[in-house]
Subunit: 224 residues, 2 copies
DNA sequence: CCATGTGAAGGTATTCACAGCC
DNA sequence: GGCTGTGAATACCTTCACATGG
């Protein structure tokens, strides 16, 4: 059935499929079955078919999915079919690493500017991007940027996000380990690296010292 | 009711509560209500109470939760009640940033070693940790390390994880953008930064160019 | 009274099994 | 024969409403 609402969990998996398809496309094959893609990306084949079923029929029965076409379609759905400009705020260790991070290009994401309040850092050029003073965030209004990555200390996160929201940024990836709020028109996704690592010990099978008896090995959902 | 299985989604939120409690403890208060904690961490109050209900009665009706006691209890459940040693493999830009990342300590996580194959990097000291040759991963067997962070290129991820599994690592946080497999006794959580950023455009309310009509503003689950 | 803890209801996502089509 | 697409069944999680206890 076409055009049901796409579940959030499906949206979460679409980039995984896209990543797999982009790598898979290099292998020279033209079509791929849900089973083959499943093996490649680590999701069950029926889950893949179900996910794809939410937005029409891309597959050919008996053949599989046309890799190129499917990748294009997923990009369209995720709105990754245009180059999108992003900026980085907070050029600390993590921020610098993100500026040099090669993975964004594959999704059509392009970091075009970086900001920091530290005079020592302003003027530095990292991976072709010049670090500007944070006060110049205001100039973003006219630069056609829709995305921002926030890698500032916790105490500066909320004010940074307020500022970005004011100048028309519409999506923010936040690395600061705290709750932040933004206007409805701005979507924020938060990523707390330490928290992810902190989740690991719970799932590690017993084997060290005193262990509690609760941890179920269940996890149907997102294994990671 | 005590001792039902703890839902995965609850486990995912426990570190959020812990983070909030640790910050909140500094404010001098001794007790906190589910409502106050809810406002602070950005989760609904009944969700918090439900989550806590899976592992016994920590609260006092009419008063709230004892911050110190609750934090200790959450740490115990997440098995963060001991200092855990972690290692980093892959000292590139991201790896270096992670070595300097100050957030792990709060959860009792301590990065005690780092590995890379690049001779240029071996011997360097970052944040008090000396970079060793990757061949020395084998020496981990006797160093009492249970966690590893993998920040190597995609092509090296699987072999790195195989190696870590062999020497007794039991939990891995993987930053390489690909599917990886590990023995059952090893829990892997994967984090693909570019993929998170790629998820943003889908959720950004219309306002630019041609937009598709599907994006529901639903998202009951994890807003981020 | 105030705030917790929890059955019950409601909603969402996963999993199955197979009809339908190439 | 092989593979997709999907209703139905199942499992899980969220949300509500209120009994229960300090």
């Amino acid at each position: 059935m076409r055009y049901r609402r796409i579940p959030d969990e499906t949206v979460r998996r679409l980039p995984i499929y896209l990543r797999g398809l982009m790598v898979s496309a290099d292998h020279g094959r033209e079509h791929i079955s849900s089973q083959a893609l499943a093996d490649f990306v680590g999701v069950q084949s029926w889950q893949i078919r179900k996910d794809f079923s939410y937005f029409g029929d891309f597959g050919t029965r008996g053949v599989g999915y046309h890799i190129e076409k499917l990748a294009r379609e997923i990009k369209r759905i995720l709105r990754l079919d245009v180059i999108r400009k992003a900026v980085l705020v907070g050029v600390g260790d993590l921020g610098s690493a993100l500026l040099s991070y090669p993975g964004f290009g594959g999704y059509g994401l392009d970091i075009v500017a970086a900001f920091d309040i530290d005079p020592q850092k302003i003027g530095a050029v990292i991976n072709g991007v010049c670090v500007e003073d944070s006060s110049r965030i205001d100039t973003l209004r006219d630069r056609g940027v829709s995305l921002a990555i926030v890698a500032v200390p916790r105490t500066a996160a909320q004010s940074t996000i307020d500022r970005l929201a004011q100048v028309g940024i519409r999506g923010i990836l936040n690395f600061a380990p705290c709750k932040v709020i933004a206007p409805h028109r701005v979507k924020v996704i938060s990523l707390d690296i330490a928290m992810e690592l902190a989740r690991l010990p719970y799932y590690m099978p017993a084997g060290g010292a005193g262990e509690h008896p609760l941890a179920g090995r269940s996890s149907r959902h997102r294994a990671s």
